[in-house]
C-alpha cells in the first residue's frame, strides 16, 4: 500500500493572501453587479425623463414655434447663427451643410414669402398669432381657416397645422373599448372553463395553447385581420369602409385574450376547491357556486387581469395601424375609420422635424400614453399584491 502523498500544509500567510485575493475579486464583482443594476434603473428613469423633457414645452404650452416664428430677411443671412437658420428653414444638419450660401439665400426668400402668406391669412382670422400648440387649441374646438364653426381637427401637415388631440383620444377610446368588450368576455369564459369545468387532462393542454396566442407576433395578427377579418366584416355587414375601428377593435380584442385569460385563470384557480364543494353541499347549483362563490372570491385578480388587458389594448400599435384606416375622425359610428394615439406616433414621428411643434405635440401624446398605461398597470399590480398579502395573512 502506497502511503498517501502528504499534501503540503499551506503556510498561514499563503492561505491568507489567497483568501485576500478572492475577497478582492468578490468586492469588485459586487461593485460591478450593483453598477449594472443601477445602470438598468437609471436607463428606466432616463426613458421617462427623456419623454417628459421632450414633451415639456408642449405640457406647459411654451413650444417655440420653430420654423414658423419670425421671418429672417434674406439680406441678413450672415448675421443669423447657422443653427437658427437651419431650424428656420426646417432642414436637417446634413441638408443644411450640403447647401451653398446662394441656395440658402434663395430658400430663405421662399420661406419668408410663405411666412408672410401664412401671417396674412391668420390675420384675416382676427388673431395676430395663433399658436397651434396652446392647450386651448389642443383640447377645445377652434374655427380654423376655411371652417365656419369651431371643429376638433388633427391635421399636422400643411401650412396651418392643427393639433387637436380629441379625435386621436376618441379613436383610442373606441378601439380600446371594443377590444375590451370583445376580449374580456372571451378570456374570462375560457378561464372559467379551464379552471372550473375542464378535467385535469385537458387543462394542461388548453392553457398553454390559448396562451400561445401571445406568441403570435402582432404584425401577423394585423396581417390576418387585414386579409381575413376586414373582408369578412365588409361582406357580412356591408360597411362603406373596409378598414375601420371595429375591425381594429376586434383584432386587438383577440390579441389581449392571452393576457387576460392567463391572469384570470390564475386568480380563478387559486380559489379553494373546498369553497365550491361547500357551496354545492349547501344546495347551490354548479353555476350558482361559480357565480356566487368563485367569481366574487377571484374578483380582485380578475379585475387586475382586465386592467392589464386594457393597458395592452391602449398601447397596441401594429394591429391598429394596419386595419383601422388611420383617419382621425370624430363620429359616433364604430364602423368609421379611426386613428389612435400610438398609431399617430408611429406614423408621424418620422416626418416631424426635431424640436418643432409637431414633434413636441407627438411627444406630449407619448407622455400622456405612457402615464396612462403606467397608471393602469400600477393599479393592476396594486390589486394583485394586496390580494397576495391578504391571502398570505389568511394562510398564516
Amino acid at each position: 500500500m502506497n502511503p498517501v502523498p502528504k499534501k503540503p500544509i499551506p503556510r498561514f500567510s499563503e492561505s491568507l493572501t489567497r483568501r485576500r485575493r478572492s475577497a478582492w475579486m468578490d468586492v469588485w464583482a459586487a461593485r460591478g453587479i450593483a453598477l449594472v443594476a443601477a445602470g438598468v434603473g437609471l436607463a428606466t428613469v432616463l426613458v421617462f425623463l427623456f419623454i417628459c423633457i421632450e414633451a415639456w414645452p408642449a405640457l406647459v404650452g411654451q413650444v417655440s414655434d420653430g420654423p414658423m416664428t419670425t421671418a429672417i430677411s434674406p439680406d441678413q443671412l450672415d448675421r443669423v447663427p447657422d443653427e437658427a437658420l437651419q431650424r428656420y428653414l426646417g432642414m436637417s444638419p446634413s441638408e443644411f451643410a450640403s447647401k451653398t450660401r446662394e441656395q440658402l439665400r434663395l430658400l430663405a426668400e421662399v420661406r419668408a414669402e410663405t411666412l408672410a402668406e401664412e401671417r396674412g391669412e391668420e390675420q384675416g382670422q382676427g388673431g395676430d398669432s395663433i399658436r397651434p400648440t396652446d392647450w386651448r387649441r389642443l383640447i377645445l374646438p377652434w374655427a380654423w381657416k376655411g371652417y365656419e364653426n369651431p371643429v376638433y381637427l388633427w391635421q399636422p401637415s400643411g401650412a396651418g397645422p392643427c393639433f387637436n388631440l380629441i379625435p386621436l383620444w376618441w379613436g383610442t377610446l373606441k378601439v380600446t373599448g371594443i377590444a375590451l368588450l370583445v376580449g374580456v368576455p372571451l378570456a374570462i369564459a375560457a378561464a372559467l372553463y379551464v379552471s372550473q369545468v375542464a378535467s385535469a387532462r385537458w387543462r394542461v393542454w388548453l392553457k398553454p395553447v390559448i396562451e400561445l396566442i401571445a406568441g403570435v407576433p402582432t404584425v401577423v395578427m394585423g396581417f390576418l385581420a387585414l386579409g381575413i377579418l376586414a373582408p369578412v366584416f365588409q361582406r357580412v355587414v356591408g360597411v362603406p369602409f373596409l378598414l375601420n375601428g371595429m375591425v381594429a377593435g376586434v383584432a386587438v380584442g383577440v390579441a389581449i385574450v392571452p393576457v387576460v385569460f392567463s391572469l384570470a385563470e390564475d386568480a380563478l384557480s387559486t380559489v379553494p376547491r373546498e369553497w365550491v364543494r361547500a357551496a354545492l353541499a349547501l344546495g347551490a347549483t354548479p353555476w350558482e357556486a361559480v357565480y356566487r362563490v368563485v367569481l366574487p372570491a377571484a374578483a380582485p385578480g380578475v379585475s387586475a387581469a382586465v386592467l392589464l388587458g386594457a393597458a395592452q389594448a391602449l398601447g397596441e400599435t401594429m394591429i391598429v395601424m394596419m386595419v383601422s384606416g388611420n383617419a382621425p375622425t370624430l363620429g359616433w359610428s364604430l364602423w368609421d375609420p379611426v386613428r389612435t394615439v400610438p398609431v399617430t406616433l408611429a406614423i408621424e414621428l418620422g416626418e416631424a422635424a426635431r424640436g418643432g411643434p409637431h414633434y413636441r405635440v407627438l411627444f406630449l401624446l407619448g407622455f400622456l400614453l405612457l402615464v396612462l398605461s403606467v397608471v393602469l398597470q400600477g393599479l393592476a399590480r396594486g390589486i394583485r399584491t394586496r390580494q397576495a398579502r391578504l391571502r398570505g395573512e389568511a394562510m398564516a
Binding site: 478572492s22 475579486m25 468578490d26 464583482a29 459586487a30 460591478g32 453587479i33 450593483a34 449594472v36 443594476a37 443601477a38 445602470g39 438598468v40 434603473g41 436607463a43 428606466t44 426613458v47 427623456f50 419623454i51 421632450e54 444638419p93 446634413s94 443644411f96 451643410a97 369564459a189 375560457a190 372553463y193 369545468v197 375542464a198 388548453l206 395553447v209 390559448i210 406568441g215 403570435v216 407576433p217 402582432t218 404584425v219 401577423v220 394585423g222 385569460f261 347549483t285 354548479p286 353555476w287 361559480v290 357565480y291 397596441e316 400599435t317 401594429m318 394596419m322 400610438p342 406616433l345 408611429a346 414621428l349 426635431r354 400614453l369 405612457l370 398605461s373 403606467v374 398597470q377 400600477g378
Partner: protein
C-alpha cells in the same frame, strides 16, 4: 327547472369559447403553413438563381437577407440584454441588502419598464439613441455633412429592443435564482465558498434553465416586434451589408410593409406569405423552446415561472 338552465348553458358556452380559442391558434398555424407551402421553394429562401438580391422589386427579394437582418438585430440585442438582465437580477436576488430602498426602487422601475408600450420605446430610441447619442457622436467627430451615427441604424434598433426586453430577463432570472434550494447555498457557504463562488458555481448553474427561459422569451418578444424598429432602423431594402450604423432588413418589418404598402400586391404575395410563415414558425419555435426549458427547471422554479 329554471334554476337549472344556467347550469346547462355555463359549461357548454365557456367550453365552446375555450375550445374555439384553442382552435383559432391551431387553425392559424395550419392555415398559414398551408397558404405559404406552395411558395416555399429554394428560390424563396435564397432568391432566384441562388442569389440574394436586395433591390426594391419584391419579386427578387427573398427570405435570406430578411432572416440575416432579424438575426443580426436579435443577436446584438441579446449581447446587451443578457448581461444587463442577469446582473440586475443577481443584484436584486443576491446582493441587495434585504428590504433596501434601492432594491425596492429598482424592482419597481423594472416592473414599470415592463408596462411601457412598445411605441414609447420607438420614441425614446429615435429621440435618445439616434438623436442624442448618435447625433452627439457625429458632432464630436465634427462630421456634419453626412451623419454616420446620427441616423436610424442596426445598433440603435438593437439597443432599443434590449431596453424593451430587459424586464423579461430580469423577472425570469430573479425567480430562477430565488428558487435555487436554500440548502445548496448554505452548504456552499459552510464549505468556505466566497459570495462570488457561490454565485458562479452554485446559483447560476442551478438557475440556468430559468434564465434561458427568460432569454428565449425576450428574443421571442423582440423578434416579432416591429413598432420600435419603424423609427430606429428597419428598411425595406439595403445595400446588402450588415453594419452597425446602417439600416437593416427585417422579417417582421417586411411583413408590415408588404401587407400595407406594397407597390404590387400580386407580385409580392409569395414573399409576404413566406415571411409570415417564417415569422410564425420562428416565434413558435422560441415559445416551444421556452416551454420545454421551463418544464426542465426545478419543480419549485416551475411553479413560480
Amino acid at each position: 327547472m329554471i334554476r337549472r338552465i344556467p347550469d346547462w348553458i355555463f359549461p357548454r358556452l365557456t367550453g365552446a369559447v375555450a375550445w374555439a380559442l384553442a382552435g383559432l391558434v391551431l387553425s392559424l398555424i395550419l392555415g398559414i403553413s398551408w397558404m405559404a407551402w406552395p411558395h416555399l421553394s429554394w428560390a424563396a429562401w435564397v432568391g432566384p438563381g441562388g442569389r440574394a438580391s436586395n433591390s426594391l422589386d419584391p419579386r427578387s427579394v427573398c427570405l435570406a437577407p430578411l432572416l440575416i437582418g432579424t438575426a443580426a438585430r436579435t443577436f446584438l440585442m441579446s449581447l446587451a440584454v443578457i448581461p444587463m438582465g442577469i446582473l440586475t437580477a443577481v443584484y436584486l436576488a443576491e446582493y441587495a441588502p434585504s428590504g433596501s430602498r434601492m432594491a425596492r426602487t429598482l424592482r419597481w422601475l423594472v416592473q414599470v419598464l415592463a408596462g411601457v408600450p412598445s411605441v414609447i420605446f420607438g420614441l425614446f430610441g429615435l429621440g435618445f439613441f439616434v438623436g442624442v447619442v448618435g447625433g452627439g457622436l457625429d458632432r464630436w467627430n465634427g462630421d456634419l455633412a453626412s451623419p454616420v451615427w446620427g441616423r436610424p441604424a442596426l445598433l440603435w434598433a438593437s439597443l432599443t429592443m434590449a431596453l424593451m426586453t430587459v424586464p423579461v430577463v430580469v423577472v425570469a432570472t430573479e425567480e430562477a435564482l430565488r428558487s435555487v434550494p436554500r440548502d445548496l447555498r448554505v452548504a456552499a457557504i459552510a464549505l468556505g465558498a466566497t459570495r462570488l463562488q457561490v454565485l458562479m458555481r452554485i446559483l447560476l448553474p442551478n438557475a440556468l434553465p430559468g434564465i434561458a427561459t427568460g432569454v428565449i422569451l425576450a428574443i421571442g418578444r423582440a423578434s416579432g416586434e416591429v413598432v420600435p424598429l419603424l423609427f430606429t432602423g428597419a428598411a425595406v431594402a439595403t445595400q446588402g451589408s450588415v453594419a452597425l450604423n446602417e439600416r437593416f432588413m427585417d422579417l417582421a418589418y417586411q411583413v408590415f410593409v408588404l401587407s400595407t404598402q406594397s407597390p404590387d400586391p400580386q407580385a409580392s404575395r409569395p414573399l409576404l406569405l413566406t415571411s409570415v410563415w417564417a415569422l410564425v414558425f420562428l416565434s413558435l419555435l422560441l415559445n416551444a423552446g421556452a416551454a420545454i426549458l421551463r418544464s426542465r427547471a426545478t419543480p419549485a422554479a416551475r411553479d413560480r415561472l
